[in-house]
């Protein structure tokens, strides 16, 4: 019997959230600095990463630093120093999706473990095995995969695999400033502190959050993923990292979600029959705290797709 236990992962916006989510039961916290990372709920300085790292390590928890921007030449000027700094802070790993990361880590002899997360491009096991030969430690799978495809990938690789199990997913990334461009177009004032969403024409029920950061414009999914009822299948497949996206949600919400997934995972590991009895209730507890404008679904894990 292996000592398999999935790592429950969640993103955090600040030190307070790091602590609360870890105490709620997360095994690993994802943080990032917006200069090098896309779609961050916060913006951690090196000093804050140091504090978070020390605190999390004192609790036996892990910290991964997102450096998942698509790099342009100018990123490359400061990125190597940043990576060396992170290595010195002894963070548990970085998360990146730009192919140059393999060259950069090699060039600067940086031994930080790499979680390879090219977002939409992580869709088959041969591709991931190609990157494994070039140095990844783990890989995050694309969200647009069936659960069967996730399981098949897991069966065909020899490194840990991560998947998102809760929260909104990114569905569009442009380098352009597509929100403020529109305000300029219609001659209205753009207030960057506001949150926004778009709806499809004649589909008033749709709700796609849209926002800008230093690396461009991002559009998020219409629904929040919620895979809590299906944790049995995911855990049976021995998926290694289970990620909760906390962006655009309150700390209170994220704390409750983490606690629920913690309980659900531990319940299934200890007693599958008890999980079977409780899984509908787990789902209901999520539905109870879900914001009105955010429906829940299972993303692509059980959806037919046309290619």
């Amino acid at each position: 019997m292996s000592s398999y236990k999935p790592e429950l992962q969640v993103s955090a916006r600040n030190l307070e959230e790091v602590k609360r989510l870890a105490q709620a039961g997360a095994d690993a916290i994802f943080v990032g600095n917006q200069q090098f990372a896309n779609r961050q709920p916060g913006d951690f300085s090196l000093f804050e990463i140091k504090e978070a790292t020390e605190w999390l390590h004192s609790q036996g928890k892990k910290i991964y630093v997102m450096v998942n921007a698509i790099y342009h030449n100018e990123h490359l000027e400061s990125l190597p120093t940043y990576l060396k700094d992170l290595e010195q802070l002894k963070v548990d790993g970085i998360v990146a999706g730009d192919q140059s990361i393999y060259q950069i880590l090699r060039d600067i002899k940086c031994s930080l473990p790499l979680t390879w997360d090219p977002e939409t491009l992580s869709t088959n096991y041969q591709t991931l095995n190609f990157w494994a030969q070039r140095g990844l430690s783990r890989a995050t799978l694309s969200n647009e995969l069936s659960l069967d495809a996730v399981i098949k990938i897991k069966e065909n690789v020899h490194f840990p695999i991560e998947m998102q199990i809760h929260g909104m997913t990114n569905i569009f990334h442009s380098k352009r400033k597509l929100v403020r461009n529109y305000y300029a177009q219609i001659d209205e004032t753009y207030d960057r502190s506001k949150t926004r969403f778009i709806k499809e024409n004649r589909k008033p029920e749709t709700h796609y959050p849209i926002f800008e950061d230093l690396n461009g414009t991002h559009i998020m999914s219409n629904e929040d993923l919620a895979m809590i009822e299906y944790l049995d299948q995911i855990i049976d497949a021995k998926i290694d990292g289970l990620y909760i996206e906390g962006i655009l949600k309150t700390i209170d919400y994220n704390e409750k979600i983490v606690a629920l997934y913690r309980e659900a995972i531990d319940t299934y590991l200890a007693d599958p029959a008890a999980f079977e009895t409780k899984k509908t209730a787990f789902k209901q507890m999520i539905a109870d705290i879900q914001p009105d404008d955010r429906q829940l679904n299972t993303g692509f894990y059980f959806k037919e797709q046309i290619d």
Binding site: Y71, H72, H75, T123, H173, S174
Partner: protein, 409 residues
């Protein structure tokens, strides 16, 4: 300006089918890219069987042109079957290189046909010089850049890494980083990264702000709805900048476009490249080249990310502000010098009294009014109304096979 001893960059054109391939090469493309029946992103672009590829390569060889195959899907597990056979076949057919985005396909190609060149597709979003260096160290001869890269960034890449760079100069663009958009999967269950793009970025949306009293519909402030639609790229006015930055292959987008589009756009860029290299010091853009590009344009045009970050001026809001102003009216199949009669295959309704423009390779152009038309039975007719009908038309100046006739809308 300092003179440099650059070699001419390759002019690379799209070819959605065999006919388009021939026109692209005839009008001056140094290379074309096509799709096979598997592993490509343009499932509606016609695409080539192996036999058609053989014919395409044979035609290209006569003109010293190259044929590349775009095999640029982001594969899922079930798409991994048959890769080795596919690349081996392409190599044996004489394809000059494959344009690939997914490393699983890169690996398969190199295993199956080690001498077949592999180029990294724009779908992989190569946007910095370290990524170029990575692929160089992997042994790949060329990267196709992301559309988000500026002329200055290209210059820096070429200074730092000895690898061929292919960059887009003309055509439609993803407004997202290519490959990093799954709008179509989410809104239409069609996977853009496997050829199913529903162009959801060009749809109309409503934008809302979250406020203290619920939401505010920002788009109600204007007649212009929210959208992410981009204008089309055109570097017609700035091509020497890309040449001097060191771009090795200048790429035109559009495997789905008509032969009229491909011929027109290739003709202009061929003329620009050749004119520039004849005398770089005294090169000047000519208004007639710009006008010519607009005869095939389908949207308004922008230089994308090559100079400054695009603004709202580079997007398409409201109603389309420029639509094609010309129709492709006919294709010249033959010409009789003695009678000055052209045999023309009808591609759009035309008739006596219409002002038309004939054009051909090497920027050959003349305008005339149609004065006489005969049908296949040599009966005089007023108008050529039937699709693809063969006509004879009296022409004012000599024409030749592959010339085209267009008319204003």
């Amino acid at each position: 300006m300092t003179t440099r001893t650059r070699t001419k960059p390759e002019l690379l054109a799209p070819a959605g089918n065999l006919e388009k391939l021939k026109f692209a090469i005839h009008y001056g493309a140094d290379a074309v890219y096509i799709g096979g029946q598997q592993f490509g992103l343009r499932s509606n672009a016609g695409n080539f069987s192996y036999d058609e590829m053989r014919e395409g390569v044979a035609f290209a060889n006569k003109y010293n042109a190259k044929v590349y195959v775009a095999a640029n899907i982001i594969a899922h597990n079930e798409n991994l079957e048959g890769l080795h056979e596919f690349f081996k076949e392409l190599y044996e057919i004489g394809i000059s290189g494959v344009i690939v985005a997914d490393p699983a396909l890169i690996q398969a190609s190199r295993e199956a046909a080690p001498d077949l060149e592999v180029h990294i597709s724009t779908q992989a979003s190569v946007a910095n010089w370290k990524t170029a260096e990575f692929w160089k160290n992997e042994g790949l001869p060329r990267v196709v850049l992301a559309r988000e890269v500026s002329v200055e960034e290209i210059r820096e890449m070429k200074e730092k890494v000895d690898i061929e760079i292919e960059a887009f100069i003309h055509g439609a663009m993803c407004i997202s980083y290519s490959g990093r958009c799954v709008l179509s999967n989410h809104m239409s269950a069609r996977d853009a990264n496997r050829g199913g793009c529903a162009q959801s970025c060009r749809w109309k949306y409503d934008l809302f702000e979250d406020g203290t009293d619920g939401t505010v519909a920002v788009s109600d402030e204007s007649d212009e709805q929210y959208t992410m639609s981009s204008q089309d790229l055109s570097m017609v006015e700035h091509l020497p900048d890309l040449i001097e930055a060191g771009v090795d292959s200048l790429k035109i987008e559009g495997r789905m476009k008509s032969i009229h589009y491909v011929a027109t756009v290739v003709n202009v860029y061929r003329k620009i490249i050749d004119t520039y290299f004849e005398d770089p010091e005294n090169y000047q853009i000519q208004q007639e080249w710009i006008d010519e590009i607009w005869k095939a344009a389908q949207r308004s045009l922008t230089s994308g990310f090559y100079y400054d970050e695009p603004t709202e001026k580079d997007q398409l809001f409201g109603r389309p502000n420029r639509i094609p102003k010309y129709d492709f009216a006919g294709l010249v199949l033959d010409y009789d010098e003695e009678t000055q009669m052209a045999t023309i295959q009808q591609r759009n309704n035309f008739g006596i009294g219409d002002e038309v423009e004939f054009f051909g390779p090497n920027f050959y152009h003349f305008k005339q009014t149609i004065t006489a038309i005969w049908d296949e039975n040599d009966e005089p007719i007023e108008r050529a109304k039937h699709a693809m009908m063969i006509t004879k038309v009296k022409v004012d100046q000599p024409v030749e096979k592959f010339n085209m006739m267009r008319k204003g809308k």
